[in-house]
């Protein structure tokens, strides 16, 4: 049962990976990356259940959070060309 879920998630990850490489615009790629991260969270959880390792779920939990932070960081970088110190002017004309 978990093997079936693992295979299904693996196929889903491959499909999303294809979209990640083929995605015409940057935002297709960010969306595919975000979806890939969510699938990875589930995949880690399923693997934890498959191998009888309950501590995998901590890894999955952490991965879910970091995936979110990564997505937001990419978007922020491509909007302001900077992650850390956004120039005051950019924020102003942002409105």
């Amino acid at each position: 049962m978990f093997a079936l879920a693992a295979i299904a998630l693996f196929i889903a990850m491959i499909l999303v990976l294809i979209r990640l490489f083929a995605g015409p615009s940057l935002y297709d790629r960010v969306l595919a990356l975000n979806s890939f991260g969510t699938h990875t969270v589930l995949f880690i959880g399923v693997l934890g259940f498959l191998n009888g390792r309950p501590d995998f779920l901590d890894i999955a939990l952490l991965y879910a959070l970091i995936n979110f932070v990564g997505t937001i960081a990419i978007l922020k970088f491509f909007r302001y060309r900077a992650i850390g110190d956004i120039p005051r002017k950019a924020l102003e004309d942002e409105g």
């Binding site: 297709d28 879910a64 978007l75 491509f78």
Partner: protein, 118 residues
């Protein structure tokens, strides 16, 4: 009672993985970015909920289920937020939906995928 839980968790896990695949196929096959957003949210919502509930049923009332609940909670919070962030960033950068419902009298409504992609 035990077999009921086993069957229920089996059904949840199989349908959850089915929805994960449906979401992934949707992300791959849909014409433009905006419809792919919808496809991504299918695997994010249905796939995640069903799989995590199925695993929680399998684990019973233990610490594992608490962790699964926490994962579900965080994915509930971060999923829509990140999808909104991606959509907002795309719209701001000029990636307009196909039939530009945003401003209907926009002459140059781009065909799908030929929008202003960076």
């Amino acid at each position: 009672m035990d077999t009921v839980i086993q069957v229920l968790s089996w059904v949840c896990i199989v349908s959850g993985s089915f929805f994960a695949i449906v979401g992934a196929v949707g992300i791959l096959r849909f014409p433009d970015f905006w419809s792919r957003l919808h496809a991504a949210s299918i695997s994010d919502s249905a796939g995640v909920i069903l799989l995590l509930v199925g695993m929680a049923l399998q684990a019973g009332l233990t610490l594992v289920s608490v962790k699964l609940g926490l994962i579900l909670l965080f994915l509930f919070i971060t999923g829509p937020t990140s999808t909104h962030a991606v959509a907002n960033a795309a719209l701001v950068s000029g990636l307009k939906p196909r039939r530009s419902s945003v401003d209907a009298n926009d002459p140059k409504t781009p065909e799908d995928d030929k929008a202003g992609s960076r």
